[in-house]
């Protein structure tokens, strides 16, 4: 993240004026698109799904930008939209295809190993498989804390969950993942 060129206060001012709104939003897209892509990708695994979701997230943010008053950080606002989109997408996919993303032996898990866009070492892929066994929200909490090192307070705003519940969720997720890895090596 290049914080030197991204001044949140300035962007908020520009965002409120119709003449500069689109340019301000473009700065937001440049700042957050890549990191959001990776967070979404970790949730859905598949590149095409992540790409579609990312487009939807920014379209939603753009259409609701007038309602954003800056009470939370821009990143928090975007993560909130992103995580809601991810959960909606995962639930829809589970219902439509009647598949279990949480089953380590499922088609989705096997797809992870054969996907040409997955290139990690064995342990990284194993971690991804372990993540797929977690409920969506727990996986989200783990990803944001473990990979992004997001503070619980910011996560609390993004996921609309208390800090205590998030800490408990992360703790449980870590225990489950550690046990999964222990059983699969």
């Amino acid at each position: 993240m290049n914080n030197s060129s991204f001044n949140e206060k300035e962007i908020l001012v520009l965002l409120k004026q119709s003449g500069t709104q689109r340019n301000a939003f473009e700065m937001i897209v440049k700042e957050f698109s890549e990191q959001l892509y990776w967070q979404v990708r970790r949730m859905v695994n598949d590149h095409d799904d992540a790409d579609d979701l990312l487009q939807n997230i920014f379209v939603k943010a753009w259409l609701n930008v007038d309602g954003f008053r800056g009470e939370s950080r821009i990143s928090t606002w975007l993560y909130r939209i992103a995580m809601n989109e991810c959960i909606t997408f995962i639930n829809k996919k589970k219902n439509e295809q009647n598949i279990s993303l949480s089953d380590p032996e499922s088609e989705a898990a096997r797809h992870l190993e054969s996907d040409s866009y997955v290139d990690g070492d064995v342990m990284q892929v194993l971690l991804q498989k372990a993540l797929m066994t977690l409920p969506e929200k727990q996986r989200m909490v783990f990803n944001l804390k473990y990979f992004k090192e997001m503070k619980y307070e910011e996560m609390s705003e993004a996921l609309n969950t208390s800090v205590g519940a998030l800490k408990a969720s992360y703790h449980i997720a870590v225990k489950k993942i550690a046990a999964f890895i222990e059983n699969h090596i």
């Binding site: 897209v29 990776w38 990312l54 920014f58 379209v59 194993l126 870590v174």
Partner: protein, 125 residues
Amino acid sequence: MKEEDDILRRCGTGNPFKVPEGYLDNLSERIMNSLPEKGTTARAVAKTEFRVWRNIRPWFYLAAVFVGLVFGINFMFHRSGDSSLKKNQQAKVNIEQLSDQDVETIVANTHLDDYSLYEYLSDAK
């Protein structure tokens, strides 16, 4: 947390995923190109509302005419009914109050034949 340290030690925080070549280079540009023009949604909603109104408008007018007719007929019917009743009552009272001499004068100056006059005075139909 011991388990967290174990995961970090074994798996690290590396990224196992890849993206198609050049995907991230023009990601922002593609996202910006996919954004709709601002106000599109509001205009679309307004257009939809107008379209719905345009479709139901003839039925609305037809219903309004029908309701108007029903009220109008109902109003006129009751009004004329009340009016003729009052007139009848008034006529009856007046006829009853007339003296024989007055009746003879009326009969003499009326262009009604006897039977019509009888009908009128006796209320026969």
